[in-house]
């Protein structure tokens, strides 16, 4: 699969400037965009023998011009398409947009809406991390964890569907609250199904026999179940020596490098930096909730995936607290459902999405459409880590490093 195409001249020039390796001939080829591991993303890789000497990331295969689209659509109708870049984590992607518009309008959502938003965002974080962990298992040659992650994810996705009405892209957050309240009851069939699944995965009946149908209690039941399952993931994948040998010491991103490159999320925390938007600039209901920010000092792929694993535990903790503390009341301010007026001004707002800090810079000129929307998505900020990490490594380590970054091409390209 030799690299051919328009970019060949560019690559030739770049290779010329590299020093000639005596170990063998230099070979440049492209990994992706059809590679099952990378998604719609290409890395132009130069190798000597089996060692990568240079990696040039080439995103843009799924660029849809979200920022330009925003200038054509109104404030509320921007929401459905802004979720699309990160469908696994739609709530995390739309959260800063909603916060930014609220800050421009100087409004504050009702208390109950804040908690519902937090529950939704954390459920999505777990869903996204389970996807990450499952595919990480596949890339490390461990198919069981993939099945487990996707099986357990189903019940969390069902919860988001009960609240938001859709499995992935719910368009649930709007400036001024959320679009609907959580249901009070869970469908009987789902409860029965969950009970069956509980018995299958844990090998015992649900304690007390009946799974509660009340929404709050059902969420707590799913959280308890998921906590138990997370315990089982640890010996299955993360404590397995085979996985550890494959990921320890691979793709080392030092603390200083992580800061200067400006990476975010589990990649930053996996390098030992304690930085989380939920703690640093708390928004919505996060100041009322207790949780830790897990960090690891290993700076390698293993640390990053472990940070993801511990974050799921923290998310479960947050959901439990939020469900218990959630007050009654309205969930949305009184306003027109589709047309809102946003005064002129500038705002920069951030929120913690599943893959890291997601920020929006929004400039409004007082009309019904935004003047400029800039999305600083977490994957775009982690993109620079790819050429930095995939250097002087073996080809076989590339999938591991790539997936430990939890890079999502669509979110990067926007």
């Amino acid at each position: 699969m030799l690299f051919r195409g328009e970019g060949v001249e560019v690559v030739k020039e770049k290779v010329k400037s590299l020093e000639v390796y005596e170990a063998g001939p230099m070979l440049t080829f492209s990994m992706g965009p059809q590679h099952p591991g990378t998604g719609h993303f290409r890395m132009i890789i130069t190798v000597v023998g089996d060692t990568v000497v240079r990696c040039d990331p080439d995103p843009g295969f799924v660029h849809r011009g979200e920022e330009k689209l925003c200038e054509y659509k109104t404030w509320i109708t921007n929401i459905p398409h802004l979720e699309r870049p990160a469908i696994l984590d739609a709530a995390g992607m739309i959260y800063p947009y909603v916060l930014a518009v609220e800050r421009l309008m100087d409004i504050e959502p009702p208390e109950r809406a804040k908690y519902l938003r937090v529950i939704m965002a954390e459920l999505q974080r777990i869903c996204s991390h389970l996807y990450w962990l499952g595919l990480m298992g596949v890339f490390a040659g461990h198919a069981t964890i993939y099945m487990w992650c996707f099986g357990d994810r189903e019940y969390l996705v069902d919860l988001t569907q009960l609240i938001g009405g859709q499995r992935i892209t719910h368009s649930y957050f709007v400036p001024g609250g959320v679009r609907n309240d959580a249901p009070s009851k869970v469908p009987k069939e789902l409860v029965k199904d969950f009970r069956r699944y509980y018995r299958m995965m844990l090998g015992k009946d649900y304690p007390g026999g009946e799974v509660p149908e009340d929404f709050r209690k059902y969420v707590l039941a799913v959280c308890e179940f998921f906590d138990t399952r997370l315990d089982e993931y640890y010996p299955m994948l993360l404590d397995s020596p085979l996985f550890i040998y494959r990921t320890r010491g691979v793709g080392i991103l030092k603390r200083e490098d992580a800061i200067s490159l400006g990476v975010v999320g589990p990649v930053l925390r996996g390098s030992g930096v304690k930085s989380d938007t939920r703690i640093d600039e708390p928004y919505d209901a996060y100041p009322y909730l207790k949780f830790n920010v897990p960090t690891m000092d290993g700076c390698d792929s293993y640390s990053r995936i472990m940070v993801g694993y511990y974050e799921m535990r923290e998310s479960v903790r947050i959901i439990k607290q939020a469900v218990e503390q959630m007050p009654e009341g309205p969930v949305k301010l009184k306003q027109h459902p589709v047309t809102i007026k946003v005064p002129a001004g500038e705002v920069f707002a951030s929120a913690e999405a599943a893959r890291g800090q997601c920020s929006y810079y929004i400039r409004s000129d007082g009309t019904d459409k935004p003047y400029r929307v800039k999305i600083c998505s977490p994957s775009f900020r982690n993109l620079i880590a790819i050429p930095h990490l995939i250097k002087d490594v073996r080809i076989a380590d590339i999938p591991i490093i790539y997936w430990s970054l939890n890079y999502w091409p669509v979110e990067c390209d926007r």
């Binding site: 920022e67 330009k68 800050r103 400006g262 640093d280 800039k374 775009f380 620079i384």
Partner: protein
């Protein structure tokens, strides 16, 4: 006045003392934005100063804005905004500064800050292709998201019309 506002006020005061009238404009709105505009000639100097004296070591994004269609005060300029913060310094926890500069739309050349904040490299490449801003001294100024054969106007300029959408 919260901690973040206090530290920002101190920072602005210090910058004004140091750079004088090179700081053109300060836009300080609590919870919304903390932006100060400098002249393009001295942006590198200011950035260097911020990094060494105030330990602003973390870059969050680079935004380019085409200001030519603003309804009230249209200017034929492009604005480049660096969203920066700090990880090492406890004081700046959760604070985002916006360092901005304005260049004319006919000759948009800004010194690159990617050797001060290494992470700005990709963000600057994006601003280069999307708004046609040339970053002087950038190590590798190429197209990133757009195809290499893109020869139309930079798509995020306001005079670029999306095919089939008009206006």
């Amino acid at each position: 006045m919260s901690d973040a506002e206090e530290i920002l006020a101190r920072l602005i005061e210090d910058l004004k003392k140091k750079f004088g009238d090179k700081i053109l404009e300060v836009n300080l709105e609590p919870k919304k934005i903390a932006k100060f505009t400098v002249t393009p000639e001295c942006i590198k100097e200011v950035a260097q100063y911020l990094k060494s004296e105030w330990t602003i070591d973390y870059i969050k994004g680079v935004t380019g804005v085409d200001l030519s269609r603003l309804p009230d005060k249209a200017q034929e300029v492009l604005e480049v905004i660096y969203h920066i913060g700090s990880i090492s310094s406890e004081m700046f926890r959760g604070v985002t500064l916006s360092l901005s500069t304005k260049v004319s739309i006919s000759n948009p050349v800004v010194p690159s800050l990617s050797n001060i904040w290494k992470g700005a490299e990709m963000h600057e490449r994006e601003a280069y292709e999307m708004l046609g801003i040339n970053f002087e001294g950038h190590p590798d100024l190429r197209k990133l998201l757009l195809p290499e054969f893109w020869s139309d106007k930079p798509p995020l300029r306001k005079d670029y019309v999306v095919p089939g959408r008009g206006c």
